[in-house]
């Protein structure tokens, strides 16, 4: 599948934003109203900016972005529509939670339910994003539970890296944040490792003989394509990546997340400018890791329709 930059940026940015929101809401669940209001306000602002930038980026993937509002209507059957509905539903809940957490509103009694609602809506939105891909039977590499798990864990991991950076920036002496961030980043790397092992081991279930229904007559190969040039299907679904590049990029991802984790742990041992600098390095590592991972997620996916264009198996 062709990796569309708008979709990569969308899933990476909004994933990190929702992950950060989940961590901020968890902080409120455990500690009540924000003790450090600058930290809380910056966190909320950063998360909402990332979510909004991601959602706006996704509209660049559309041929008719001015009609994007129509995408909220088919939540009964479409995961893409559900994602749209939940992403919008998450806004009022998040803003209410933020206002309560920052004590801009007096009703502290509903801080807990608002935080819980924020956690649920943000998690469900990321889950819907994953389901857009993992519900497609036409792409065997995406029919894997580790697609859903990977999206959720990497959302939390990149959000946690941002949280650790903010904690360093505002001088919060909270090593538990660093440990949680490091653990979730390691978990992200493990999820991807397991996912890649699984898709590499999975047998190619579909063949050109099955696709054409001509297998009973013998072995099939493409003799002549329908046209000499490229078409939309070949361009969109026919994107393929050389094995050696994919191996190298995978190792970059598997290095980036532990590197971010180690940097965050190091940042908890120091204070001041050095801690902030280490936090920035960790965010960059995690961000690059998730961008490469997302690019690979698309580039390594093989679509069944390519069987008709001569792919021997999918």
């Amino acid at each position: 599948m062709r990796p569309a930059y708008s979709v990569i940026i969308f899933t990476a940015a909004s994933g990190a934003g929702y992950g950060l929101l989940v961590w901020l809401a968890l902080t409120a669940l455990f500690h009540g109203p924000a003790a450090n209001r600058w930290f809380a306000a910056s966190g909320m602002l950063l998360a909402l900016t990332l979510v909004t930038a991601g959602l706006l980026s996704s509209t660049f993937h559309l041929g008719r972005p001015e009609r994007a509002w129509r995408a909220f209507s088919q939540w009964r059957s479409s995961w893409l529509s559900r994602e749209g509905v939940f992403s919008i539903a998450a806004y009022p809940a998040t803003i209410l939670f933020g206002a309560l957490w920052l004590q801009l509103m007096p009703w502290t009694a509903i801080l807990f339910p608002a935080a819980l609602l924020t956690i649920v809506l943000c998690t469900v939105t990321v889950y819907c994003t994953a389901k857009i891909y993992s519900s497609l039977p036409t792409i065997p590499q995406w029919r894997d539970p580790f697609v859903d798990i990977g999206y959720l864990v990497l959302s939390l991991a990149t959000g946690a890296a941002l949280l650790a950076f903010l904690a360093a920036l505002f001088g919060l002496n909270a090593p538990v944040i660093g440990r949680l961030a490091a653990a979730s980043l390691i978990a992200g790397a493990i999820c991807k490792l397991v996912y890649w092992r699984r898709i590499d081991a999975a047998p190619r279930r579909y063949t050109i003989e099955q696709a054409t229904g001509l297998g009973s007559l013998g072995s099939v190969r493409q003799w002549e394509p329908p046209h000499t040039g490229e078409n939309f299907v070949m361009r969109e679904m026919g994107y393929s990546i050389a094995r050696k590049h994919s191996t190298r990029l995978r190792s970059h991802v598997l290095a980036a997340f532990p590197m971010a984790a180690a940097t965050i742990l190091a940042a908890t041992l120091v204070t001041g400018t050095l801690a902030v600098a280490l936090g920035i390095v960790a965010v960059i590592c995690a961000g690059l890791g998730v961008l490469i991972e997302r690019w690979l997620f698309f580039a390594e996916a093989r679509h069944l329709s390519m069987l008709y264009y001569g792919a021997p198996a999918a």
Binding site: R64, R67, R70, W79, S135, G218, H227, H303
Partner: protein
């Protein structure tokens, strides 16, 4: 509405195509006729980029592949070429419809035709990802998805002569390899043809239940491949009739 209509009732109309892989000669007349009709009808415009240049690209709703099939005994008999027209199969349970976030992609309850409403499609391309047959092609200039409409603007069109009220591809096929009809009615000519010839579904494993059917190539007649097997030494000897001897002499003279 992208939830699928209930089409489980017996006798539910399921309009579709039957394509005879035995007869198709791969002339692409159906594809060009499809493009010509649909660039002015329901799917208009079917835009092409660089149409007269070296790298033309644009949506076509029907594509003709050609495959070489090698049987285990193809050493003796030679392989065979199968021309393979491929378009939307108007599945009974199409994922391209259910994944659509806007309701632009829908399946008609009355005849089972799968359509895209060009006025509400947002061009997200997810339907094309959900189709295992590669039947949907995005129009980069129009910004919406295009697909086979089963010529919905021909088959019910009372401004056309009755014999023209069938899909443009079927009308254009010079060898009679394409048939149009109601595959939901077991007594219809197309259903009878499918039953008689052992028509099959493409990729039934994916569970989308395509309505269109393909008729398999017939087994080869032994004499059709006899010429390839005959070596020079095995050529049939001529009888000794006067005419044969005359031609044999003429052959020798002319071969000098």
């Amino acid at each position: 509405m992208t939830s699928l209509p209930d089409t489980s009732a017996p006798g539910q109309k399921k309009l579709g195509l039957v394509i005879d892989l035995d007869i198709c000669v791969g002339c692409h007349a159906c594809a060009t006729s499809c493009k010509e009709w649909n660039t002015q009808g329901y799917s208009a415009p079917l835009t092409d980029r660089d149409p007269y240049g070296s790298d033309p690209m644009g949506p076509w709703l029907n594509r003709i592949h050609s495959y070489e099939v090698q049987a285990p005994d193809s050493q003796e008999t030679g392989s065979r070429i199968v021309h393979f027209p491929r378009s939307c199969l108007h599945c009974e349970e199409p994922a391209c419809v259910t994944v659509c976030p806007t309701g632009a992609s829908y399946k008609r309850a009355e005849d089972g035709i799968v359509l895209v409403d060009p006025d509400t499609c947002i061009g997200c391309k997810l339907c094309s990802w959900a189709c295992p047959y590669g039947a949907r092609e995005y129009d980069y200039d129009d910004g919406v998805m295009k697909k086979c409409t089963l010529c919905v603007d021909r088959i019910y069109n009372e401004n056309l002569e009755p014999e023209d009220r069938e899909p443009a591809c079927v009308r254009a096929c010079p060898t009679g390899a394409r048939f149009f009809g109601d595959l939901g009615d077991p007594e219809s000519p197309v259903s009878q043809l499918v039953a008689e010839r052992g028509g099959f579904d493409l990729l039934p494993e994916t569970g989308f239940k395509p309505v269109n059917k393909y008729l398999p190539p017939r087994p080869r007649r032994p004499e059709a491949t006899a010429g390839e097997q005959t070596s020079l030494e095995e050529r049939p000897t001529y009888s000794d009739s006067l005419a044969d001897r005359l031609f044999s002499w003429a052959d020798r003279m002319l071969s000098r």
